[in-house]
């Protein structure tokens, strides 16, 4: 007993010592290195890379879906954007009615007392919106109702405005799927384990095919058993080439190969699927950084999509932050929104990092992916 205690204590003390010793060395170097200060907030709101983006119709037409192009000359014919969007609204309305109804009931009371405010706060908290954004919304709502009094209109529409403002509809939500000057657009899909990356890649490929674009998939998830096969199955369904490497091989080389092939064959878009990785694993995050760097030797990465599971709680914020630091995330895909989860964390993510949600995943069906429409999203929330 005594020995193990001693050892335990010794270890801890040593650790501290090592920390101390290493800590200083690190600091000294830290002055040279750029401290990864804070999220490199790239401002997608202001700079949507117009030269590239404008041509992209992809799932871009948000409120007014672009004309669905006719014939996709492949095996499966993916659904067009309009009907997908309709389904999105329907699903959101169905799955998240509880949230909206709760709010409605609260706000239609005659007087808004402290309890009501707390209840409103609770409703938002339950949707994973997070403590700080919730407090901000409620505070704004209070101020507006107090200042404008009766003129503010009914509290419900005020709340709707506040929520929409929080989601920020002004952000550019088009997917940058075209490269400059004949180069393919490169979409890198990243996220933690089990968020739905591979499925999302498969679905995006289908959409692009439906828009009559040529696509190559890169199966850079060389870690998880059978992940490559899973992507290959998606590729086969729509007749898209999948570049694959052996299991356990270097994902960067697979990604490089995929993009190289894309450039050679002159395809419109290359989508690279990566292995799921938890954001606190430095080694894996480095690996991801390498994947991106290596790809950029061939063609610039036009879009980095972070796949976030709607069930994720406050950790989603950390995920978004860390992934942004490593690969400069340009858009978020919110998956599994067809369940009972509300995915409110994306509000916090957008607010803090300015990275917009671009797509939402709505189920396991091949076409259950829709563009994210802030107004529709909030409307659906409010029932």
């Amino acid at each position: 007993m005594e020995i193990s205690v001693l050892i335990g204590l010794g270890v801890l003390i040593l650790l501290v010592g090592i920390g101390l010793i290493v800590g200083l060395v690190t600091r000294r170097q830290g002055t040279g290195k750029v401290p990864p200060a804070m999220p490199p907030v790239e401002t997608p709101g202001t700079g949507p890379a117009p030269s590239v983006g404008d041509v992209d119709a992809a799932p871009g037409g948000l409120v007014e879906p672009t004309e669905a192009p006719p014939a996709a000359p492949v095996l499966d014919r993916p659904e067009d954007t309009r009907s997908r969007l309709a389904r999105l609204r329907q699903r959101l309305a169905g799955s998240q009615g509880g949230f909206g109804r709760g709010l409605l009931a609260l706000l239609s009371r005659d007087r808004l007392d402290e309890d009501t405010w707390e209840a409103i706060e609770d409703v938002l908290l339950t949707a994973d919106v997070g403590v700080a954004p919730t407090q901000k919304v409620v505070e704004n709502l209070r101020t507006r109702l107090r200042v404008d009094g009766a003129e503010a209109g009914d509290p419900r529409s005020v709340l709707r405005d506040e929520l929409i403002a929080l989601v920020d509809p002004s952000l550019d939500r088009r997917l940058q799927v075209s490269g400059a000057e004949g180069q393919p657009g490169v979409v890198l899909v990243v996220g933690v384990n089990g968020a739905g990356k591979t499925t999302t890649v498969g679905k995006i490929a289908r959409i692009l095919v439906a828009e009559d674009r040529s696509v190559t998939l890169g199966a850079a998830d060389t870690f998880r058993a059978a992940a490559v096969d899973q992507l290959a199955t998606w590729g086969e369904r729509v007749g898209v080439d999948v570049v694959r490497g052996a299991e356990g091989s270097d994902p960067a080389s697979v990604a490089f190969e995929a993009v190289r092939q894309g450039v050679e064959q002159g395809v419109d878009t290359v989508i690279v699927d990566t292995a799921g990785r938890l954001q606190n694993k430095a080694g894996l995050m480095d690996e991801l950084g390498k994947v991106k760097r290596v790809i950029e030797k061939q063609a610039p990465v036009t879009e980095v999509l972070l796949v976030l599971d709607a069930t994720t709680g406050q950790n989603g914020m950390v995920q978004a932050r860390v992934f942004s630091e490593v690969v400069d995330v340009t858009g978020i895909v919110l998956t599994k929104l067809d369940g009972s989860a509300k995915g409110g964390i994306v509000m916090a993510v957008q607010r803090e990092l300015g990275v917009p949600v671009k797509l939402v995943g709505l189920g396991e069906g091949p076409d259950d992916l829709a563009p994210f429409d802030p107004a529709a999203f909030v409307d659906a929330l409010l029932g």
Partner: protein, 523 residues
């Protein structure tokens, strides 16, 4: 980064020192902080409310208001309550008396069922069982394939009569697997099912049909530690739809705080039985409630650390080093340090290990950016010294320094700093080891949970007089102040000691981050 509960409470109580008892307003403020801390750890709202109410009641009692350091006392209460809820009755796996034991896994998509199935199989195999994996996830493309590959890796056969990808009936596969298991004398059958949503009535029915078909002895609900407020809804939906007896928490190697564990335990009453934490198929363990509680409160996970250390460390060496630090076995030299550092490295990456120390939660960003090769560099420097220099670094003069730097491929300043740092660290380590804590160093308040567990043994070692003072007013965020100033300031501000016996890891951790640019890493 979010501040830890202890820091938050410390802030709340900053103005309380000296007051005899807590006022109602103080308690409300405390309750609010606890509420926020729990919400940020993804504990479900209804659970948070009940919990906070319970803590409030206890906070009104004398045990808090009479404590010298109410913040620590309250954190302690919170921790205890958490352990009580999480722990409850834990139980072991039930095995069938006759015929094969059937374990069924259910959960949302992407929770980690297929991977877990393989981990569970390996775990059972190590206990002398002969498990059979059954691929009932016929939904997701190549899920069957994934299970087969994983099965192969752990050396457990996989029963997969259907190819999957939407083909085949999982219920009949499940039923057939039982026949197979009886025929081939497997004693545990692990049924991996497709991921499904709680709101999907059709698939829930299917899951319940599978359950009917195999009559499992254990149904395990697999849930991702990252899950947010939806945890309660989903857990309840699965409880109603399929029913389960235990919960498995996956992806615990992430930095999610895992409040879901608390929510699910509280709402459904089903115990969390296993925890899965890592990419490797051996990263699977039974669930430890107290560790989870510390984690939810962001208090580090020292027990795991110590346990791991005991497994990998050379006991004799460690003992020797510890003795040296307490001043019994000669001086602690750079050689000892090198040896111990190499041992520590065996435990895994330095950032992971340091991350397990309490109070390090806030430094995660920095830890994540920690360059593991820094250790190699230090090692190179030490190894470029002669044995005499390692024994007594004081003899290192200008020319020796230049030689060492050359040998290690580093600069003279690096060598200098390492040596300075070593002396400083040794002094501090020896102080710890004697149980003195760091006089005058600001302590971060309250890790009573973590501290408490070590309390017993430490008291034998430490002796009574030496207790560290805890100054809750000082939080890690203030670490940017340079060390000397902090020492001076804190010495003045610390007239009385804290009642709890804490080791000063956190202080040291704070100290570790004294670099001026450290403030960049916080928040």
């Amino acid at each position: 980064m979010f501040a830890t509960l202890s820091d938050r409470l410390a802030d709340t109580f900053k103005n309380l020192r000296g007051k005899g008892r807590l006022s109602e307003a103080d308690i409300d403020a405390t309750a609010r902080e606890i509420r926020i801390a729990l919400l940020e750890a993804d504990v479900a709202l209804p659970v948070v409310k009940d919990f906070v109410a319970a803590v409030k009641d206890r906070a009104r009692a004398d045990e808090v208001s009479q404590a010298l350091n109410p913040a620590q006392q309250i954190v302690k209460i919170v921790h205890e309550e958490l352990v009580t809820i999480l722990g409850g009755e834990t139980r072991r796996m039930r095995f069938a008396k006759h015929g094969p034991t059937v374990i069924m896994l259910a959960g949302l998509q992407g929770a980690g069922k297929t991977t877990l199935a393989a981990k569970l199989a390996l775990w059972l195999k190590e206990q002398g069982k002969t498990p059979l994996l059954v691929a009932c996830d016929l939904q997701r493309p190549n899920a069957v394939n994934q299970l087969q590959v994983n099965g192969e890796r752990v050396g457990v056969p996989v029963f997969a009569p259907e190819p999957g990808n939407g083909v085949g009936d999982p219920v009949s596969v499940a039923r057939a697997s039982l026949e197979e298991a009886k025929r081939s004398l497997y004693d545990v059958v692990i049924v991996d099912t497709a991921g499904r949503l709680g709101v999907d009535a059709e698939l829930m029915q299917q899951a319940s049909d599978i359950r009917e078909a195999v009559q499992p002895d254990e149904v395990l609900f697999v849930v991702d530690a990252m899950i947010g407020q939806d945890a309660v809804v989903t857990a309840q939906a699965f409880l109603d739809g399929v029913g389960y007896d235990g919960v498995v928490l996956t992806k615990l190697d992430g930095d999610a705080r895992g409040g879901a564990a608390l929510s699910i335990r509280q709402v459904t009453g089903r115990p969390v039985m296993f925890a899965s934490s890592g990419e490797k198929l051996t990263d699977f363990d039974v669930f430890h409630p107290d560790r989870m509680a510390s984690r939810i409160l962001d208090m580090g996970d020292m027990l795991t650390l110590i346990e791991q250390a005991e497994k990998t460390f050379d006991a004799e060496q460690a003992l020797k080093a510890a003795e040296k630090l307490t001043g019994k076995g000669g001086e602690f030299t750079l050689d000892d340090f090198l040896q111990q550092m190499q041992q520590v490295r065996k435990l895994g990456s330095m950032s992971k290990i340091l991350g397990m120390l309490p109070g390090m939660g806030q430094m995660r960003e920095q830890l994540e950016n920690f360059d593991e090769r820094e250790i190699d560099r230090i090692q190179a420097i030490i190894q470029s010294m002669t044995p005499a220099e390692r024994d007594n670094p004081k003899i290192i003069d200008g020319s020796r320094r230049a030689r060492i730097a050359k040998g290690a491929g580093r600069t003279v300043t690096d060598v200098n700093q390492l040596v300075d740092r070593f002396f400083e660290a040794r002094k501090m380590m020896m102080q710890f080891a004697r149980g003195g804590g760091m006089p005058g160093m600001p302590g971060m308040p309250g890790m009573p949970g973590a501290g408490k567990r070590n309390q017993q043994p430490k008291q034998q070692k430490k002796g009574k007089g030496a207790r560290r003072s805890g100054n809750p007013a000082k939080a890690a965020q203030q670490a940017e102040v340079d060390a000397e100033k902090q020492k001076a300031a804190a010495a003045g501000a610390n007239p009385f000691g804290a009642p709890t016996e804490d080791i000063d890891y956190e202080t040291a951790a704070a100290n570790l981050n004294l670099p001026k640019d450290f403030s960049n890493f916080l928040k």
